[in-house]
Symmetry: C2
Subunit: 202 residues, 2 copies
DNA sequence: CCTACCGATCGGTAGG
DNA sequence: CCTACCGATCGGTAGG
């Protein structure tokens, strides 16, 4: 049960546009124009605008899994894996074009004060991501890579810095912002250095 | 040359709505319904939707100046003043309702990938705020409150944490998020403690 | 500050 | 996947 090629084209474009302008500003007409299709042709693949938004979120989840999560699983559990995810996110952001983290920065900010199924899906996705960060931190503590600390607090700080790396890069057209995020995260981790603190690449 | 009472009512409501949903989702019709006015009655005060957006930004600037900047000027220059601004922003966020920082978190994220006069105004405002943070950090270093460090890097980190305090509070309905931001900022400042590091209240 | 409009665009539907 | 529509709403204008 594969997704059709046209539907993939629509989702790629929807992902691109909503990474820049959000899922509320996404319109079926704009999407159709970009893809040189009719509005009904786009609409028919999803049935409603909300279904299109939810499908775009699922598409973004798949890209995030493929581009960020899975590659980082190659690194050892705990701190090396956490650091691999942080470098993947900030490295991606240092290149041109659109990448895994941008969609989520835009969309979480767009929906943080809204209600409804789209918001709920966004929140659930990000909660899963935060739990993943906290688990890696907890594992890092258990493995004595890190000094004991509050995983939720450290995860909050890392997520804050990752978000700001992408956001401030865009707002100020400052290509150094992702590197600032990485520098700050690395410094914070080294401050919590435990006896088995691993070497952090890059 | 005072602003009319009706115009103030419109701007208060526009500020409230755009703090939640952004300045692009703001519509003259919705504003008119909320205020039990006609669309033309709202429109006439500004002349265009863009002028309404820019006027709402100016309104938000005034509130930020009155509620955050000016009160903090009572604290001594350098670190105490920087800390006063951080506590003001996170304290406001801990109460219910809408406050100074929320508008800017929403709107900077909304416009970071857009173009045009509204985006330019938002960017200029935030650049001024970042410069203010950097100046307070530089003063703190000169006064030996802080160890020498890169003011732009530290300002980036503080702004990242302040943003995330408001944003994650809303996204996860987590009232502890602003306190996490404050804890992280305080920890970062104490890490950079200089010989004349002041006592940080609260 | 209002009523009464305008053309454009929105999400969505009928029918093929 | 298309053309040809629908009612609702958008920003904006005329005229008072």
């Amino acid at each position: 049960m594969e997704t059709g090629a046209t539907k993939q084209r629509i989702l790629d474009r929807a992902f691109h546009l909503s990474s820049l302008y959000g899922l509320e500003a996404l319109t079926i007409g704009r999407l159709a124009d970009d893809l040189r299709m009719s509005k009904a042709g786009v609409h028919g693949h999803f049935g409603s605008k909300q279904a299109l938004q939810l499908a775009t979120i699922r598409h973004a989840q798949q890209l995030f899994l493929r581009n960020i999560i899975t590659p980082s699983e190659a690194a050892p559990d705990g701190l090396p894996r956490l650091w691999a995810m942080c470098t993947a996110l900030t490295a991606y952001s240092m290149e041109t074009g659109l990448h895994g983290g941008d969609f989520w920065v835009t969309v979480t900010n767009e929906y943080d004060s809204r209600t409804g199924p789209v918001r709920d899906t966004v929140e659930a996705t990000m909660s899963g991501w935060m739990r993943r960060l906290e688990d890696l931190i907890s594992t890092g503590i258990e493995l004595r890579q890190l000094t004991p600390c509050d995983p939720a607090q450290l995860a909050f700080e890392i997520q804050a810095l990752l978000d700001a790396g992408g956001h401030q890069r865009d707002l100020y057209h400052d290509p150094k912002a992702p590197a600032r995020a990485r520098t700050a995260i690395r410094g914070r981790l080294e401050e919590l250095r435990g006896p088995r603190f691993p070497k952090l690449t890059e």
